[in-house]
């Protein structure tokens, strides 16, 4: 064994006390679902973790009713200060149970423990801590004095950052005075179930947070429920579009966090070693299953070869494998369906003349895996330069001038994120100005913070999560 093979360093799962079966968390109590229960499997082993209830329309109705009741009787009338105290409590319990949550998340999602441990879970606690402080300061979110909660918020989150997305949804909603019904993704319901337990430990009044599991039909019933006042969805643009249509003509408020095809622009004066790290972090973080991934590398033509050489050398050091191993950089793809999509799109990219190179890593026999891959020779018209792959696949395009870089970066119906790498401050700011993207990272990538608004332009959705703007999404009022 060579040094770089690093002996296995698995995080123990003994910290988890999982049940075999999870019900729906409605009105502060667990209850079975009306639909057919389903299993969640660990993407790295294909082994079943637990069974989860599927909420049918009756369950959705019960969950919304519980949320309404809690809104009317408890959470709505409660002072902002007290709401904030509950959220602070939750933040602290999240910190206390951080390791357990990280292990559960890696198990259920397939992402490396080093990400859940160092990124997802710390951010979850930070998100609740941040929003807790807003609860008694709503007069300053920018909607005028005494803004009002919407009421019952229906929230649907994706599988790529299960607990983190839960925090992005629940923390601001509760701080603003809404009660929520949240549905985690079908393939990653586990940490939401643990969160129910945390709500109970925090003594959160029954019905303030309701968690229902299920697939698309459950989500559809939830957003269409007539007693829902506010809908927040993070997921694919296709589903976001359907929700926007379903809500047309209603009085429901809607925020959408959808797909992306982020451009990561590397100028020839970039801090090169850091740019390589940024490219790697931009597309291989969470196996590229990130809506704001830097999936299109736009590299200035005169440094294309140098960047590619260094990038490939760096990619060769990425360690793919057991998500629970502390040295794993690249974990499993979340599901077979996602793996098939990635494979199909990469095949299309090659068929269209792209040249694919994958990091030399052995893929485990069980589970869903895709080696970190870079496709060069991609043109703006290529399928893989336009479609969101949502996997560890980087498409490489070149540009000659800043204007061309901007034009290519903006040449997409999406507008979520972009990266700029250059040592020239003046140019960085000018290019950042022109990019049609909600988040622009300069000389860094994939950074998130509850104080920093996140969200897209164009078909990447509308509304922001994080910061003052994120709070506004859960309030009405002002003049």
């Amino acid at each position: 064994m060579t040094f770089l093979d690093y002996a296995p360093a698995p995080e123990s799962t003994s910290i988890l006390g999982l049940r075999d079966e999870y019900g729906l968390f409605i009105g502060g109590e667990w209850r079975p679902g009306g639909g057919t229960s389903f299993a969640s499997v660990s993407p790295s082993t294909e082994r079943q973790i637990a069974m989860f209830a599927a909420a049918d329309e009756g369950d959705v109705d019960a969950a919304v009713a519980a949320a309404r009741k809690a809104y009317r009787n408890v959470w709505g009338p409660m002072s902002g200060r007290d709401r904030g105290k509950y959220l602070f409590r939750i933040a602290r319990i999240l910190q206390e149970r951080a390791r357990e949550l990280a292990v559960a998340e890696s198990l259920d999602n397939g992402k490396p423990i080093k990400e859940t441990r160092d990124a997802d879970v710390p951010l979850v606690a930070q998100w609740f801590f941040h929003c807790a402080g807003w609860a008694d300061k709503l007069d300053w979110v920018g909607l005028g004095a005494n803004p009002q909660a919407h009421g019952v918020a229906a929230q649907i989150i994706p599988w790529n950052f299960p607990l983190l997305m839960l925090s992005w949804k629940i923390a601001p909603a509760l701080a603003a005075g809404n009660t929520v019904v949240l549905k985690p993704a079908e393939t990653t319901p586990l940490t939401a179930m643990l969160f129910a337990d945390i709500c109970q430990q925090a003594g959160l009044p029954a019905g303030v947070v309701n968690l229902i599991t299920g697939a698309g039909e459950t989500g559809s019933a939830l957003v269409r429920h007539p007693d829902v006042d506010k809908v927040a969805f993070t997921g694919s643009t296709a589903v976001g579009r359907e929700i926007a249509k379903a809500l047309a003509g209603t009085s429901k408020k809607l925020t959408l966090e959808l797909g992306g095809k982020g451009a990561n622009i590397v100028f020839d004066d970039a801090p090169l070693d850091q740019a390589i790290e940024g490219i790697v972090n931009g597309i291989f973080f969470n196996q590229g299953q990130v809506c704001c991934a830097g999936s299109r590398l736009l590299v200035q033509e005169n440094i294309h070869d140098a960047v590619m050489d260094r990038l490939k050398e760096r990619m060769a050091t990425l360690r793919l494998g057991d998500p629970l191993d502390k040295n794993t950089d690249v974990g499993a793809i979340n599901s077979t369906a996602q793996l098939e999509r990635i494979t199909r799109l990469v095949d299309a990219g090659i068929a269209e003349g792209g040249e694919a190179w994958s990091a030399p890593c052995e893929l485990p026999k069980e589970g869903y895996w895709f080696a970190p891959t870079v496709v060069t020779g991609v043109e703006a018209s290529s399928t893989i330069a336009r479609e969101e792959i949502f996997g560890p696949v980087l498409s490489v395009l070149t540009f000659r001038t800043p204007d061309e870089a901007i034009a290519k970066a903006n040449n997409t119906p999406y507008g979520l994120s972009a990266g700029i790498w250059s040592d020239k401050g003046s140019r960085v700011l000018a290019v950042a100005d022109k990019l049609r993207a909600g988040v622009v990272w300069t000389n860094t990538f994939n950074k998130f913070d509850p104080a920093s608004p996140f969200g897209g332009y164009k078909e990447s959705g509308y509304g922001r999560e994080g910061g003052r703007q994120g709070m506004q999404a859960y309030l009405k009022g002002g003049k």
């Binding site: 060579t2 040094f3 770089l4 002996a7």
Partner: protein
Amino acid sequence: MTTPSQALAPAERAVQLLGGDLSEVALRQHLEGLPTVDAVGLEARAASFGTRSIKTTSKAAALDTVIRMIDLTTLQGSDTRGKVRSLVAKALVPDASDPSTPRPAAVCVYGDMVGNAVEALGSAWSAGKDDGINVAAVATAFPSGRASIGVKLQDTRDAVAAGADEIDMVIDRGAFLEGNYGKVFDEIVQTKDACRRDDGTYAHLKVILETGELVTYDNVRRASWLSILAGGDFIKTSTGKVQPAATLPVTALMLQVVRDWERLTGERIGVKPAGGISTSKDAIKYLVAVAETCGEAWLDPHLFRFGASSLLNDVLLQRQKLTTGRYSGPDYVTID
């Protein structure tokens, strides 16, 4: 200000890379054309090395590798022959309870102590060959470097004559910060020349940048590159007398430089972080940085060293823990 037309000593590497008419201007343009460093990104990358979890067999191998890479060091005004003998004894038998314990790469002393170190090492002295312990000497008016060039060169020649296998020189940080890159360059070239032994071989030259005084990462990259161009065999972070001494980001950056140099020329240069690395845990982070930046070929005492005094004993404690399965204590390792 420097004279733009100043010609520089015709160091072989610099001539090959920059052409025959070596001048201050050419050197400056070359150094200023190097890729810049974004500090936040570099530090984040360095931190990521620290999150590697090196366990069981990997840890055992790593600990032995660390020991083999140590330049066991004493650089005190109060150094005596007795102290040097004691240091050498520790190098010869790092852990009396375990004869399988490897020996460090070198002992590092002030120039006037070289003879004592050689004598104390006896047959274990490498004498420039590969199968023993080297004697490294700090030179060129270490640690400040504030002396005339004549004094610095004589300092070097004396140490080499006394048997030093390696010379750890300091660059003129003042000249570097003035922008007088040519002066820094020429001094390294001349010091290299002073490393020449009568038989035509050279003592290995380690060039100390004193990164704690250069402060910025861009300076560190330029100084590293300059030192290599001028003929350094190793680039070394610090004297240990200035804070901060070795840091993981600075070392990671210097590793990137030697990796780039190899990519450009095929030639491998060594890196030596020195000062402040006192625990196994920290040392292993450096090994990770080496392996993930330059590849495993660099996990070799010819290409990577730790300048340290207290590190060895912490590694030995960890080594004993791996062997016995229980935690050891400071009374179970010997002091030098």
